[in-house]
């Protein structure tokens, strides 16, 4: 019954003396936060140098921002789950489910905002179920959300009968197409979510508890933090954001598609890692993954513009992801 001594928790001699000497290295994660920004700028500079007229045109930068908006919202949710040492593999199919619910509401001629809320609610419920199973039944996040990936995708197909619902709504289309001060509306929405989530993570009680549960669930529990509540909340948020992103995806493509888009999932995990969020939990920023999303979209856009064949694009993106992730690791 006695607690065994844990050598891993013993002090690391020299570590703190070095830290007190070099103030800027006081936080060993400081540089990993900035690496993604450097990488992003590098991508802009490289493509800008190769084809400045096409890549750096306002038209194209606008394209990159439009393309980044929906992934950025999904990435925020993913960041929350990864910060609790979890992962949400169901985001892409929850997005699809949200879109299908939106489509069903739209066919019943409900107002667009009701359709949107319907999609968000469906997403949130799926997320809460994820969180409850993970925390109450103590089943691995990976497994539970993998199951939900399938369940949500299947539910979307069942509810939609496998058929897309065309959604023609000028208001939604305006949101997807238009811009203000050179920045697309979609990006304003995504950025607002990013800023609010940053606030939530670093300036609220919920945020501290989230990071505590991610960093050290046993210590958090010992201090009376409810793991269940935090897990349910983060997966609920992730689902809610996926459900919300569904509305934007509908605005973007003008239809509620019943087939899940797994590219969004892979993109979100890559962006979270590139953004310097620890897969072991407890360590996160919101802006890092956001910049990483811009990076990935700029990369894809730039490769397309300079005419790199699709096959090589897969390889390039993979290399950038792995390279950045290993750089982040080295910096740590």
């Amino acid at each position: 019954m006695d607690t065994k001594s844990n050598p891993g928790s013993a002090s690391k001699p020299g570590a703190d003396s070095k830290l007190s000497f070099k103030q800027r290295l006081r936080d060993p994660y400081f540089w990993s936060d900035w690496l993604v920004v450097v990488a992003f700028l590098l991508v802009i500079v490289v493509f800008g140098a190769i084809n400045p007229s096409a890549f750096l045109s306002i038209y194209n930068l606008n394209n990159i921002l439009v393309a980044s908006a929906i992934p950025a919202i999904i990435v925020v949710g993913q960041t929350f789950t990864v910060a609790t040492a979890g992962i949400d593999l169901s985001v892409s199919s929850i997005l699809t489910l949200g879109a299908v619910i939106f489509g069903i509401c739209f066919t019943k001629e409900l107002p667009v905002w009701v359709c949107m809320l319907g999609g968000m609610l469906a997403g949130m419920i799926a997320g809460i179920i994820n969180g409850l199973i993970i925390s109450v039944r103590k089943i691995n996040d990976f497994i539970v959300t993998l199951g939900m990936l399938s369940i949500a995708a299947g539910t979307a197909l069942v509810l939609s009968n496998g058929r897309p619902v065309q959604i023609i709504n000028s208001g939604l289309a305006n949101v997807a197409i238009n811009e203000k001060f050179g920045v697309p509306y979609l990006m304003y929405i995504a950025f607002a979510i990013v800023v609010f989530s940053h606030f939530l993570l670093f300036h609220t009680r919920f945020g501290v508890h989230l990071l505590a549960v991610g960093g050290d669930p046993d210590s958090a529990r010992a201090m009376g933090v409810s793991i269940v509540r935090i897990k349910v909340a983060v997966y609920g948020i992730s689902g809610l954001l996926a459900g919300f992103a569904a509305t934007l995806a509908i605005a973007r493509i003008g239809a509620a598609e019943p087939a899940a888009n797994t590219a969004i999932l892979l993109n979100s995990v890559a962006a979270v890692v590139l953004g310097g969020v620890s897969l072991f939990g407890g360590r996160a920023t919101i802006f890092g993954p956001f910049v990483a999303t811009l990076l990935l979209q700029a990369l894809s856009n730039g490769l397309t513009i300079i005419g790199v064949a699709s096959y090589y694009q897969y390889i390039s993106v993979g290399i950038v992801v792995i390279l950045s992730a290993s750089l982040v690791r080295n910096v740590r």
């Binding site: 058929r163 973007r252 598609e257 969004i264 513009i305």
Partner: protein, 346 residues
């Protein structure tokens, strides 16, 4: 997008031999080799779309054009595909050839291109007209197969081969996929027209995948030993069915006409493939682009051919070798109508 820097405009003007303000008139003098073509196809993990890509690239090369062919990041990445088209739209291509992943996903991106007064040619799967109109987009020409008709022809042909009163197993692609649904629905219609007493098992979704189709076929045969023949919505799945345990000499029909399927038709492992000609779609797409750039009148809609390739015409189909090999039968074994070719000014 209105506030493009003057440098960009200057370069753009320099890049084009003529201004693109009024493409209908000004571009009329354009030589075929000066037409700049970009294409966004579906995911390239499917031989069918590789066939289209080859058709676009090789046809373009015949006219001295290097076409930039891009694919969606993934087979289902509808938004990602729209992003790709957006990326290309920022550059000064004269013409964009597109195959949408879904009937709606490229509408807005096409709308943006239309605003820039550039030509869009739609091949293979059609963009939905309503959503296109809502986004202010315009497609100059469509060239694609009629999947329903192809399925229908397969249904009639199969009944002729297996006789009446039989049970046919159906294996479909991804749930919710329009192409798969059209082929399956067409097949059923054709078979029922030839034999109202025909019975169907399925369709089971095997996601266009060889292995999944094999598993589904095994399960279906176990549950319904009376199945006399299979129809699969693509060749890869037909290939999977041919490896099923109790398949014996049951008839198997696939759709597409990919290289592997032709080999299997030749060796008798599968009975027939309803061959479509993606290469021809790519070819027509490029030709339509050139006609539009030359200011000619482009045919609005063209149905590309399909042929049932079985033991009777397999040798002829195999003779049309491709340089790269996925679709050996680049061109149909018989004649087909290409309304575009003759409209191109030399």
């Amino acid at each position: 997008m209105k506030r493009k820097s003057s440098a960009v405009i200057l370069l753009a003007v320099a890049a084009l031999t003529v201004s693109s303000v009024l493409p209908g008139q000004a571009a009329a003098k354009k030589k075929a080799k000066d037409v700049k073509i970009a294409a966004v196809v579906k995911g390239l993990d499917n031989p069918f779309f590789i066939g289209i890509k080859e058709g676009i690239e090789e046809t373009a090369l015949k006219y001295g054009i290097r076409a930039n062919v891009q694919a969606a990041p993934g087979l289902n990445d509808d938004v990602g595909q729209a992003n790709k088209l957006d990326s290309l739209a920022g550059q000064n291509y004269d013409c964009y050839i597109v195959i949408p992943i879904s009937s709606n996903n490229l509408s807005q991106a096409v709308g943006k291109i239309t605003k820039k007064k550039k030509t869009v040619i739609n091949i293979d799967s059609p963009i939905d007209a309503t959503s296109l109109a809502a986004a202010g987009g315009k497609v100059t020409s469509f060239a694609g197969t009629d999947n329903f008709a192809a399925g229908e022809a397969g249904g009639k042909d199969m009944i002729a081969k297996i006789g009446t009163g039989k049970t046919i197993g159906l294996i479909a692609g991804l749930a919710g996929n329009v192409t798969s649904a059209a082929r399956i629905d067409g097949f059923k219609k054709g078979a029922l027209a030839a034999d109202p007493t025909v019975k169907f098992v399925g369709p089971e979704n095997a996601d266009w995948d060889t292995t999944k189709a094999l598993d589904k076929a095994n399960a279906m045969l176990l549950a319904n030993p009376s199945i006399a023949a299979f129809f699969a919505a693509n060749d890869q799945m037909a290939q999977g069915i041919s490896k099923a345990t109790n398949i014996g000499t049951k008839k198997i029909y696939g759709v597409d006409g990919i290289a592997d399927a032709l080999t299997l038709v030749k060796s008798g492992k599968i009975s027939a493939t309803i061959s479509q000609y993606p290469y021809v779609m790519g070819q027509m797409g490029v030709q339509a682009c050139i006609i539009a750039a030359q200011g000619g009148k482009v045919p609005e809609k063209t149905i590309t051919p399909y042929y049932i390739i079985d033991s009777s015409n397999i040798d002829k189909a195999l003779a049309n070798n491709s340089s790269r090999g996925y679709f050996p039968n680049q061109l149909p074994p018989g004649t087909y109508d290409n309304p575009y070719e003759k409209l191109i000014k030399k």
